[in-house]
């Protein structure tokens, strides 16, 4: 791994400002790493010309002394973000070669802050999946391997490309989106750090929708501090997204602390039910570290936790079935070849059958089913009630604690293809993450240790609504004590 492309954002920022290194040098290092990392299949569209142009502009601004916060920092962008003039297809064949004429609010904010656009990153199609195997670009491969084994491992999903690229040193940070865990789970699988902010913190405008009431953008990076820096640039009210909150964005970086004295951290007992010994031990270790930082750690209860996953797998597909109706072959993207005499119905059927992957089709079907007459009350309406109960669980819990510590995933990353044929097993990957999306709360995934098989394990810190600063503080303290410095051994 190139030293320049493996820096943290904080480090790069300081060195850029010290004129010790140029953005062009860092950007070229990243581009060269991307070039040699095709085996990972993390970057699906590289934009070297754009990147170098932006790097030079950043260098000029740095030289002039009026550089914005992220000046010269090269980033990767999940393919789900629409980027002007750059292919953006959410890893779906149905958006074949779709090149937007517009830039998503979140990426526009990053470029405004001086960041450099390296290219687009692999993901599960329309952000549906936990392994970045369901993608029109082919599966993304984690830079990590099990100790003594060459079998390909998943980087998680759906933001698997983002996590792999950050872990492998292809970029300094990356954007992700998290609908049911799609930032936190890949971060945990790859030894990187990722935060899903409070629903409404980042604008969804220009992000290809999966489930509108759950989707949130956030960063994946190499440290809690880097997440704080990136989130500060990505967040903020957007009048173009009615669900974005009209709230000031705090200085997240300033909130970082290693001192948790006076803080109460909750451990939800329901999350321990059926948890593997290794993950349980990691969780216990994390709790100990927080105690060590001065926090009081207490057991709490989130009684409706077990209903979260089924509720999520009703609400998310329901919204998806409607959000994905626009991909019909009429205006843009893929349109199936039609035979003589075929009409509009054949065009829809063939286009969507050929354009959508299996997992997307599965969720669209489930979603249409749970919304249909006669089933709506039993599924969708009931799931919404569960959602309310889960929100209340958290509200009650947060009356007694400042943050919650929980596992990010049931265990370390699994091998590619291992979950094939059992979608429910795959869905169970999201068991600790979906609850936050249902409640709209922020969650931060921090790498803590390596499992016995040599793969990273992460913990998740859950906060009150709008308290990203609080969980970044707790995460920073955890990170400092965990001292996780492991890097994947280069094989690609």
């Amino acid at each position: 791994m190139d030293e320049l492309s493996s820096m943290t954002i904080a480090e790069a920022r300081d060195r850029l400002r010290a004129r010790d290194v140029t953005s062009r040098e860092i950007t070229e290092a990243c581009l060269s790493e991307i070039e040699s990392a095709s085996a990972l299949n993390a970057v699906v569209t590289s934009t070297p010309d754009k990147a170098l142009e932006m790097a030079d502009a950043a260098d000029a601004a740095l030289a002039a002394g009026d550089a914005p916060a992220l000046a010269g920092i090269p980033l990767g962008v999940k393919d789900v973000f629409c980027t002007e003039g750059v292919r953006s297809q959410a890893a779906s064949a149905i958006l074949e070669d779709f090149t937007p004429t517009y830039e998503s609010t979140v990426t526009a904010k990053l470029w405004d802050a001086g960041a450099v656009h390296l290219g687009k990153l692999n993901m599960d199609e329309f952000a549906m999946g936990s392994s970045t195997e369901h993608t029109c670009y082919g599966a993304c491969v984690s830079p990590w391997r099990r100790a003594g084994d060459t079998a390909p491992i998943t980087a998680g999903g759906s933001s698997g490309g983002s996590a792999a690229a950050v872990a492998a040193g292809l970029c300094l940070g990356a954007t992700g989106t998290d609908t049911g865990g799609s930032i936190r789970q890949p971060a945990a699988f790859t030894g990187t750090t990722g935060i899903k902010p409070t629903y409404g913190r980042c604008s969804r405008w220009g992000i290809i929708a999966y489930a509108s009431s759950l989707d949130q953008a956030g960063p994946i990076a190499r440290s809690v501090r880097d997440c704080a820096i990136l989130l500060g640039a990505m967040a903020g009210h957007d009048p173009k997204d009615s669900t974005s909150a009209d709230l000031a964005v705090p200085d997240f970086e300033a909130a970082l602390t290693e001192d948790l004295r006076g803080k109460r951290i909750g451990l939800p007992k329901e999350y321990g039910e059926g948890l593997g010994a290794e993950m349980q031990a990691t969780w216990d270790k994390g709790a100990e570290m927080l105690r060590d930082a001065g926090a009081e750690v207490v057991e709490i209860s989130l009684p409706h936790t077990k209903y979260a996953l089924p509720a999520y797998y009703i609400i998310a597909p329901a919204e998806a079935s409607s959000n994905l109706a626009r991909y019909d072959g009429v205006r843009y993207g893929y349109r199936a070849e039609l035979a003589q005499g075929d009409g509009i119905v054949e065009m829809y059927e063939r286009t969507r059958a050929e354009g959508f992957g299996k997992e997307v089709q599965r969720r669209v079907l489930v979603g249409a089913y749970v919304l249909s007459a006669g089933y709506y009350d039993a599924y969708y309406l009931r799931a919404q009630r569960v959602r309310t109960l889960i929100k209340r669980d958290f509200e009650a819990a947060f009356e007694g604690v400042d943050a919650i510590l929980a596992p990010a995933t049931p265990g370390p990353a699994f091998g590619l293809g291992e979950m094939e044929g059992d979608p429910v097993q795959m869905y169970l990957q999201d068991v600790f993450t979906v609850t936050l999306n249902l409640a709209g709360l922020p969650g931060l995934s921090v790498p803590v240790t390596l499992a016995s098989n040599g793969l990273p394990l992460g913990l998740q810190i859950i906060g009150k609504a709008w308290d990203e600063a609080g969980i970044l503080g707790v995460g920073h303290a955890l990170e400092a004590r965990a001292g996780f410095t492991a890097k994947p051994e280069r094989w690609w």
Partner: protein, 504 residues
């Protein structure tokens, strides 16, 4: 304000071969909200633009685009609700109505399903003086219009124009309180009138700003009253919905046809299928579009891209305070203040421009005379020449001047019509025109007497006849008026003629 009293009209009865049948009609009127931009995007709503020129990224449902509510459209819906004396829901929700069609880019229409912005209201459908039907409004909700699919431009291809896509519509849903084809047409007319008064819809049916879906069923005598007592729809017949009607005449024809079709089926021992039908104005018949079984399952659910619509009572009250005087009130006031007949008041209040014109003329003058002149001369002429009142060649001030000249006795009614003609074609100040053209009525008895004497002297034989037959006096009056070019005061002429002939 004293409201006018109304009695309910009798329902339309159609005699079948075996029985008498009554009609029961409910309507869903889609009224395009008068707004420069669309319901959830900033694109223009201008009619007649080049195809696909008024289309934003949101309207075209590009990936990642999000709707943002146009608050003015919400205000217009609330204003409409208040105008229909309806309850305003301070919290309402936008839902997605899911179905596939090429002119529906999102694959769903954003509408309001369970929680509409406006609740129950009422429309008085005045059929004739003293007779009116109170039609209950069930709800009004806001929704997006679809685009236009064009299937007849190419043998193999269909074309789509998205200009209309996302334009704000108010769907105004009535209860099944309309009881005949004429009432249905009058209902739409009245609704249109109120919307235009409010400025919330331009009511242009040709441009599609106002369309109606008409639900028609038939029942035997007495059944409808049972429904009203119990609220139980099973007392009514199975309804068919006739979609997308944009002409009052077609609405009447379609209902008439549809009712007779249903009666024939029932009397033949069959049952009416609940279905959606289309009216073919060329053949004058309705035909099945889709059956209940083929009906879409729209999979409604709350749109997660939009927050619920919430507003305060104070905001609603503010809109209420800015409402203009509405047709029913204006009509009652015209009857009361100007002494015009209810019929004339209806004509005068058909729309705001006409009513304002009348009031400008009637102010400080005799209301009935003003109404006569405005309705018969001015509106008649405008109508004949298809000129809108806003472009009337004769202004309210001019017409008022004409009436003033009559009242002063300066001109007769007959001369006034000539004067009106001059004002219409050439313009000018009425008093000045009368002066300049010597049209002033001769009231000087000396001059009139001279004219009378002259006519009598020229017709000695007729004088003799007239003395025997007093009704001949009229002939002399006519001759004198002719000799004075109509300027002589006719009453004075008549009196003098009779006096000189010695007849009474």
């Amino acid at each position: 304000m004293t409201a006018l009293a109304y009695t309910e009209p009798a329902p339309k009865v159609i005699a079948g071969l075996k029985d008498d049948w009554e009609l029961v009609i409910g309507m869903e009127v889609h009224a395009q909200v008068a707004s420069k931009s669309k319901l959830f995007s900033g694109a223009s709503t201008a009619f007649g633009a080049e195809p696909n020129s008024n289309v934003s990224l949101v309207d075209a449902a590009m990936p990642g685009m999000l709707p943002v509510i146009n608050e003015f459209c919400v205000e217009q819906a609330v204003r409409t609700g208040l105008g229909l004396k309806a309850e305003i829901n301070l919290r309402s929700v936008f839902d997605r109505k899911n179905y596939f069609y090429p002119d529906l880019p999102q694959g769903y229409q954003i509408s309001q399903y369970k929680h509409p912005v406006v609740g129950e209201g009422e429309v008085l459908v005045d059929m004739e003086p003293g007779v009116g039907r109170r039609v209950r409004i069930e709800r009004i909700h806001l929704e997006q219009d679809a685009g236009k699919s064009i299937h007849d431009m190419d043998p193999a291809m269909s074309f789509v124009d998205l200009n209309r896509t996302g334009v704000a519509l108010m769907e105004i849903v009535s209860r099944p309180d309309i009881r005949g084809p004429e009432e249905a047409a009058e209902y739409v007319r009245k609704l249109r009138q109120i919307l235009r008064y409010l400025g919330t819809c331009d009511g242009n049916m040709q441009e599609g700003s106002l369309r109606a879906d008409v639900n028609v069923s038939v029942c035997r005598r007495g059944a409808y009253e049972k429904y009203r007592e119990t609220g139980d729809f099973s007392h009514l017949g199975t309804r068919c919905e006739i979609k997308n009607m944009n002409s009052m005449r077609f609405i009447q024809q379609a209902i008439e046809f549809e009712a007779r079709r249903q009666i024939a089926i029932i009397e033949d021992g069959g049952t009416v299928d609940q279905e959606t039908r289309l009216y073919d104005p060329v053949k004058g018949e309705t035909r099945s579009m889709r059956s209940k079984e083929e009906a879409h399952d729209y999979r409604y659910f709350p749109d997660p891209d939009l927050l619920p619509l919430e507003f305060s009572q104070a905001w609603v009250d503010g809109i209420g305070a800015s409402l203009p005087e509405l047709p029913d009130d204006k009509k009652a006031r015209f009857v009361k203040d100007y002494g015009v007949t209810e019929y004339d008041a209806s004509v005068l209040t058909a729309d705001v421009e006409h009513a304002d014109f009348f009031e400008a003329v009637a102010k400080g003058r005799d209301g009935k005379q003003a109404a006569n002149w405005v309705i018969n001369e001015l509106f008649g002429r405008l109508n004949k020449e298809s000129t809108p009142v806003s472009e009337s060649p004769v202004s309210a001030a001019q017409l008022g001047g004409v009436i003033d000249l009559i009242a002063k006795g300066d001109i007769s009614g007959k001369i006034a019509k000539d004067l009106f003609e001059i004002l219409w074609t050439e313009g000018g100040d009425p008093a000045e025109v009368v002066e300049a053209r010597g049209m002033k009525q001769v009231t000087d008895t000396g001059a009139i007497e001279a004219a009378v004497d002259e006519v009598l002297a020229a017709n000695p034989d007729k004088v003799e006849q007239a003395k025997a037959k007093p009704s001949m006096a009229g002939w002399f009056v006519g001759q004198v008026m002719k000799a004075t070019q109509g300027k002589a005061n006719p009453q004075a002429v008549q009196a003098l003629v009779k006096q000189k002939l010695g007849v009474e």
